[in-house]
């Protein structure tokens, strides 16, 4: 069997909710342990690293603000991949995964926006400005809330999945806008200093805690994401059983 065929069969295997549940049960404890380890290491590095000569200790806000902003965008990208899987290949788990990601994305975006405002007040003298980066992040937050609301407002699961998937794919246009907003427009928000084509502009003293906290938030996101997908599979299983039971009772009474 070629590596491609093996990968294809592994992905196809995950489409079976039972197999996915088995995998989640096995992987979740490891992810949880890794998250705790990275968070402890990240927090230690965050508070033991040097302060910035201009910003003082406020620079430490970067170690929670930047990773949450990364995850907010990563989550939307993952959701878009799931939405494509749901529309094009009708992958049974893709819809579940897209639905489970939206509330998590909203949470990370909210934290990123609020920690950004807390950082902005001492550095810029204001909590908020309507510049391109902040506005596009705010639009992302509203989109997450909209996706959650629309998905819950439509009762029929197949229709809800399709409508949400189209909305997610269309909304993906906002992700490059967020990323390049600081290059395309003149913004109060500083330009990218880590994810740049010519390498990070940050000193290793700041880059080290940022990377460890970034890893901690990535593992936290995937832990919560796997658990949310597992919960959604169980929720659908319970609803299906309740519907079957109701149908059975009606059938028996007639």
């Amino acid at each position: 069997m070629s590596p491609y065929a093996r990968l294809k069969s592994a992905v196809a295997g995950l489409a079976q909710p039972t197999r996915f549940l088995e995998l989640a049960e096995r992987v979740l404890p490891f992810l949880l342990a890794l998250t705790a380890l990275c968070l402890v290491g990240g927090l230690y590095l965050s508070f033991s690293s040097d302060v910035d000569y201009q910003q003082g200790s406020t620079v430490r806000i970067m170690y929670v603000h930047v990773p949450t902003a990364w995850i907010a965008m990563l989550c939307y990208t993952v959701m878009t991949a799931n939405a494509i899987g749901s529309i094009v290949w009708r992958h049974p788990l893709a819809d579940v995964a897209a639905r489970a990601a939206a509330p998590l994305g909203a949470t990370f975006t909210f934290v990123s926006l609020v920690t950004g405002a807390i950082w902005g007040k001492p550095m810029w003298g204001t909590w908020w400005v309507w510049d391109a980066r902040l506005t596009s992040m705010f639009v992302l937050f509203i989109m997450y809330l909209g996706i959650v609301a629309i998905n819950r407002a439509i009762d029929e699961p197949t229709r809800a999945a399709r409508v949400t998937a189209v909305l997610i794919i269309v909304g993906f246009v906002n992700i490059p806008i967020i990323k390049f907003s600081v290059d395309w427009w003149n913004t109060l928000h500083q330009p990218a200093s880590v994810l740049r084509f010519d390498g990070p502009a940050l000193d290793i003293e700041f880059l080290r805690p940022l990377m460890v906290m970034g890893l901690a938030f990535v593992t936290l996101f995937f832990t919560l994401y796997l658990a949310s997908i597992r919960n959604e599979i169980w929720r659908r299983k319970i609803i299906a059983q309740h519907r079957l039971a109701a149908r059975f009772v009606v059938h028996k009474e007639n």
Binding site: Q55, G56, S57, T58, R60, I61, V64, H65, T68, L104, T107, F110, V111, V114, T115, I118, W119, K121, P122, L220, L224, A227, S228, R230, N231, W234, R235, K237, I238, A240, Q241, L244, A245, R247, F248
Partner: protein
């Protein structure tokens, strides 16, 4: 407010929100897991001809 207060506020907010999200996901998982277990037990104890099939 000095700079330390802003830092503490940002970390407190981040960890409070993340903890609340993790607890919510965990509680939902625990509740669903129990319901699925109960349904499986009920289904196992039903006579074969009375079982509902998807």
């Amino acid at each position: 407010m000095d700079h330390q207060h802003y830092v503490v506020a940002a970390y407190a907010l981040t960890f409070a929100v993340m903890l609340a999200t993790a607890v919510k996901v965990w509680l939902a998982g625990r509740s669903y897991r129990r319901q699925v277990r109960v349904l499986a037990i009920v289904r196992r104890h039903q006579p074969r001809d009375e079982r509902q099939h998807a």
